[in-house]
Amino acid sequence: MLKIDARRKLADFEWRVRLEIRPGITALFGQSGAGKTSLVNMVAGLLTPDEGEIAIGGTCVFSRREGVNLPPERRPVGVVFQDGRLFPHLSVRGNLQYGRRGGARSAPTLEEVVELLELEALLGRRPMSLSGGEQQRVAIGRALLTAPDVLLLDEPLAGLDGERRGEVLGFLERLKRDSDRVIVYVTHRIEEVVRLADRLVLIDRGVIRSSGELQDLLGRPELQASIGQQSAGALLRCRIEHIDDGDGLSRLSCSGHTLLLPRLDLQSGSEGVAPSSRAGRPRSQGADVVLQVRAGDVSLSLEPPRQSSVLNVMSGMVERVVQEDGALADVVVNVGQTLWARVTRRSVRELGLSTGVRVYATIKAASLYSAN
């Protein structure tokens, strides 16, 4: 358990966080400059709050009132930084073995971590000669070897391209096995949140906007607002009815609707996931999945389309229309869950789309993929 109740004046706003984080993976989500890294630095002991308290598993690591401020090396905290920060003068093995801390938790052996993160072939190499993804794997391993009670991952994938990101994500999923450790995963990418996190904390300008179980927060407007319309569109919670419904399609139920999409167990995921990580994803019948539906992949009609190649039709009610500058508009449709459709303003006008209008949202099966 990680307890934070602290304040600090930052450059352009006051950072003020009150938060309890339980074991498991908690995503700390927010735009850049929202105060995410400040939280990481304060928990790790690299930044001192002006006021308040921080406690890890009942041990106070910072308290202004009691005059406690443990230095970073005495806090049971591991950090994986955005830029890796491997020591360039040490080999991969040297980097992994650098950490030491006599915590209560029994440390994994070097062999275990090397196996978990598939680092065997890299051990003798220098950090400079590694790819970005490999560097982050080493950084994760280095932090794990100090057996921290709290593991902070500060946008560990931010510096990587799509393919590398998928590769490292696969390894990060393996951390889920470790259920009794507090893992805080800082990111501003919703795909990473739905794939990794159990719980979600939304932070904006140094204040926690909401926090809770990921499943409960997915459809909430404040999350949608902070994701931004075009980046992710909507997230739909679905249940797998049939993993193979024939023709290589999986059938999902979603708030009473039926959705068909290319077989989930064969999808490589949105990020080009490394093969080794596929096994860890829920792909069995009855399992819950989260689908990411980009607003641009959703089209709207006033009647159910006939004789169309589109397999997925969901009926719903227009909640509101967000007019944008230029030719496009975003339409928020309630289909039991919230769906975003990006259409032209001309269509809005010609179909007479406004709050309360009944519409049929169609989504091509080929454009659907699971986000987790």
């Binding site: 690299l46 230095p71 090396e73 905290v77 591991g78 920060r85 360039p88 801390r101």
Partner: protein, 225 residues
Amino acid sequence: MTPVWEIAALSLKVSLWAVACSLPVGIACAWVLARCRFPGKILLDGLVHLPLVTPPVVVGYLLLIVLGRNGWLGRLFHDWFGITFTFTWKGAAVAAAVMAFPLMVRAIRLGIESVDRRLEEAARTLGATPARSLFTVTLPLAAPGLLTGTLLAFARCLGEFGATITFVSNVPGQTRTLPLAIYTLLQTPEGETAAAWLAGVSLALAIVALAGSELAARAVRKRLN
């Protein structure tokens, strides 16, 4: 006249001792100047640089006052450790060390400043105390600066003249290092040939030191990349 090799050996002994003894202090000063913020830092910075801008004779005179037989620190060293600086090679080493100190600190400070502080932070989150972080991360990564600082100081020590002759005079076998010997020979009739020899030795030592440090710098750079 003392044989050439004896003079060269004395010069080397004085310079090596001067560098070896001032290096830890130099590293500490460089680290403080590079990494710490405190009131009066500008005073420390100025004090370190003083020998660079003061006439060497003045530095030698100040050393005489402080470390001479009747100087307060000189008496302390004599009474507590049995070390006398006046007219001895130890005094010559002190004079050389003081004169070379600013060069040493400047180069090491630049080396330390070039090390990414975020790596030190990472070391701390991995359980390293500040001292361990200094010795295992900062200094190894500042190695090129350390090397340059050491070499510059060594070269400066070999060439030291003014402060030495003022502080510990020109005693054959004790404080008559290469520059002092050359000076003495040039004052003597028909000493020019011997002086030329000694000048050649000085030049050779400088070249060897330079080449050695270049090789070491290459090895260090190879290790870091």
